[in-house]
């Protein structure tokens, strides 16, 4: 009963003050949250896919000399399609590491790590075919 009577009771206040105090901070925080989730998820999708494609180009190379070039070529083609602002705001870098060297040897595990911007990193690993 008390709850019902409380709900039915009128509340006095200023519409402008209530809007400024309650609504704007909530919406601003929500906007920041949504925008950061969006940019993070897009960067994650972009980096994980790019690392997968780069490693695919690397391990399907006909020989060791071309493997690195193929990987970087995929990255350069992708970069060439981005806008100048996007390239400057979020630089993309590639690092290829191998379990043992020479990298392009049969059964070796190769990992490509793509870094987008300052903190977004994704890696993809694949084995070099055993019959190479």
């Amino acid at each position: 009963m008390k709850v019902i009577s409380y709900l039915k009771s009128g509340s006095k206040g200023s519409a402008v003050a209530e809007f400024l105090i309650f609504t704007l901070p909530f919406f601003t925080a929500f906007l920041l949250l949504i925008t950061s989730i969006h940019s993070k998820s897009m960067a994650m999708a972009e980096s994980s896919n790019l690392s997968r494609q780069v490693i695919r180009a690397f391990i399907t190379s006909p020989n060791e000399q071309l493997a690195q070039q193929r990987a970087f070529q995929v990255l350069e083609i992708y970069k060439s399609k981005l806008s100048i602002q996007s390239r400057l705001a979020r630089p993309i870098s590639l690092e290829i590491t191998c379990r043992r060297y020479p990298c392009f040897s049969a059964g070796n595990l190769v990992t490509a790590t793509i870094t987008i911007g300052r903190d977004q990193k994704s890696s993809a690993s694949e084995y070099v075919d055993l019959w190479r």
Partner: protein, 107 residues
Amino acid sequence: MRKHLFAQSRGSVESFLTIFPQLFVFLVMFQLVFMQFNLMKDTHLSQGEVSKIAITGDMGEYERYPLIGGGYVLVSHKVESVKKFIDFQQLSFKRNLSIAVDEDESN
């Protein structure tokens, strides 16, 4: 200013003063959320399509670049306008970029 801010407000005009900006801000937020999720959906669908084309060799809207040592890089680059709830007479565009490696048969 302070007097106006903390003055008590009654009636439909004051109600409108609260509801109208809230509704506007809410619609802007809703527009942003809708736009962002739509962009994410399109990005994933487009990437899936290009990856599928790289495997099956179907036809589609993409550019094909030869890769050193054999094979191709397929790139789908679409710039489309964004659907809007609130129209400010300005078109907004989204860029959708997908990439996939089409391996050479001999590799």
